[in-house]
Amino acid sequence: MPRPEVMDWLRTRFFPHIWCPGCGHGIIMHAILRSLVDTGKKPEETVIASGIGCSSRMPGYIDACTVHTTHGRSLAFATGIKLANPELTIVDVMGDGDCSAIGGNHFIHAARRNIDITAVIMNNNIYGMTGGQSSPTTPIGAKASTAPYGAIEPNFNLCELAAGAGASYVARSTVAQPNICEKYIKKGIENKGFSVVEIMTFCHTQFGRRNKIPKPVDNINRLRDKSVPKAKAEKMAAEELQDKIVTGEFVEKDTPEFVAEYEQLIERVRG
């Protein structure tokens, strides 16, 4: 059950939602709503943007200013929204495919601009909505409907990608640690700049079924068992870390934010 204070943020009239029972996306939605409540945001001054995918259906269920855009492009829409009205708080929710395959270019450029948007990536290592095709984060060897013999492509490390491109806050957690997810999202919202919170989740129906973990609870336990906090990971050998999920905060820095820079430019031009 959701915490009572998040109820004002839910469009219960649109329930039931489309997610499979037990899907990890709901845990993330709850963490986002708690973060918005705790940071004191008002729904009518908050924009939740998304692309296309199971994860990207989230804005429909949140009673704020919500926009469900095209596959991979939500950060470009969000950039226009933020630049046009800097007063708005923007959380952009994306699937791993949405963010890093079709949307890869927009992702790195949003990070490069360091625009004040919080990107929450729901990484379930698969394309859920379209039926379990492989994504740029499907682990090597894992089965997907378009990788029937096991995936062979190396993966993106989305946090490293975001850090390299210039994001000013980057963190990773898993749905097995919802309170930590909430803490990171909250910090992301409070950071004035581009924040990336990658949350490792699962798709038991599409990924789990093909890879012998069809039950939600087994997926959650697996995520918990595979996570290694950053400090511990630093002391581990590369081989030991191969199958692990390193969690924690990777970037926290104060660098110029795009919209603020533009406002200064306006001031300069207008004198």
Binding site: C65, R73, N85, Y262
Partner: protein, 377 residues
């Protein structure tokens, strides 16, 4: 006092957009449209507007739609290859009913084609480029003065009908310099989108007024909460699979334009009352067509000129009204045959439609159109 300027077509277009109240531009450089972005990058900050050069054309139109959702009048401009890239999100703007203006300064195609040469090969891309049915509004200037004026019209139409409006300019017009009479700003009639008159708790975002089939639009940040999606949706903006709701939405967005087509359609004629031959041209080609028509008249031929200023919806009624005396319509176009089929459709077999095609990156010479006129009279 109106001012006189000597502007390039692209600059006039940007100036027209600013006069219309445009305060956001999202773009990506491409010849022959880049001067629009350059002008906007210089002028917008002076007016507390926002300019952004995005990472590509897909992102540019996305940012433009996003900005419009906050209530800002927003523009993006491009040319052929960029227009192709914008098509998916253009569809979202039709579906979600977000007013934006998209300029396509046409160059030769397909593909990278002829970056610095004129064509009119994007006429059907403007009409049918994105997937799915939608009611297109596309305007086509023929002079630098019109680049300015139609930019204002385009914003007014986008705001009124709550949908994208396309301006089809071309390379010659974009780069040509001409005198432009700039009216005083308070003499320009501006249209703003309808804002909701109900309280946030009573706001049903896609509930249309039966009077005009257009729902009022709240801006993000105006105190309303609502959902925007590219999925077919009901009055709440929420995805639907119910046949009656789908049909209601689809037919309404077509109807809101069709009902008011008389307000949208603009066209221009000369010497047409008794014309046996009509030359129908648009964009830069219309000017060559007009001088050929004038020469033919001087030589005693009953020839008239018809120029659709609104390409979509196509002015079919208006053309039909001119076909009592005419036996032939000549359609000179810088493509292998696009608008000519629309003319054939509109003329319902009442006249012979003659296609004149040029696809070498050049404009017709008046003599070439004159020759065609002499062939058919």
């Amino acid at each position: 006092m109106p001012k006189t300027e000597f502007w390039q077509g692209n600059v006039a277009l940007a100036q027209g957009a600013l006069a219309a109240g445009c305060r956001f531009f999202g773009g990506y450089p491409i010849t022959p449209s880049s001067e629009i972005a350059e002008t906007m990058s210089k002028e917008l900050p002076k007016r507390d507007g926002r300019f952004i050069q995005m990472e590509d054309e897909i992102a540019s139109i996305a940012a433009t739609i996003g900005a419009s959702l906050t209530g800002k009048k927003s523009l993006t401009a491009t040319s052929g290859p960029g227009f192709s890239l914008k098509q998916e999100n253009l569809g979202l703007a039709y579906q979600a009913e977000v007013p934006i203006v998209v300029v396509d300064v046409m160059r030769g195609g397909p593909s990278t084609g002829l970056p610095t040469k004129i064509s009119q090969q994007d006429v059907m891309q403007a009409r049918w480029g994105t997937h799915g049915d939608h009611a297109t509004i596309a305007l086509c200037p023929s002079s630098v003065q019109e680049c300015y004026e139609l930019a204002i019209d385009a914003f007014n139409l986008a705001e009124r009908f709550r949908q994208p409006v396309i301006i089809l300019s071309d390379e010659v017009l974009g780069h040509m310099r001409e005198r432009v009479i700039v009216p005083e700003s308070d003499s320009i009639a501006l249209v703003d989108r309808k804002k909701p008159e109900v309280s946030p708790s009573d706001f049903v975002p896609y509930k249309a007024d039966p009077k005009d089939d257009i729902p009022a639009m709240a801006g993000f940040g105006d105190g309303y909460r609502w959902h925007v999606t590219g999925l077919t949706h009901n009055e709440w903006g929420f995805p639907t699979n119910k046949a009656p709701e789908i049909e209601q939405k689809m037919l309404r967005v077509m109807r809101k334009v069709e009902r008011f087509r008389d307000d949208i359609i603009k066209y221009d004629t000369e010497s047409i009352e008794d014309a046996e031959v009509i030359v129908l041209g648009y964009g830069s080609v219309a000017r060559t067509g007009l001088s050929a028509v004038r020469e033919a008249r001087a030589a005693g031929h009953k020839v008239g000129y018809f120029r659709p200023v609104t390409l979509w919806p196509f002015p079919d009624k208006e053309l039909q009204a001119q076909l009592d005396t005419a036996k032939t319509v000549i359609v000179p176009e810088l493509n292998c045959g696009q608008m000519v089929h629309e003319v054939e459709r509109a003329s319902c077999g009442r006249v012979e439609v003659v296609q004149q095609t040029l696809v070498n990156g050049e404009l017709f010479k008046p003599s070439e159109i004159l020759e065609k006129i002499k062939e058919v009279v």
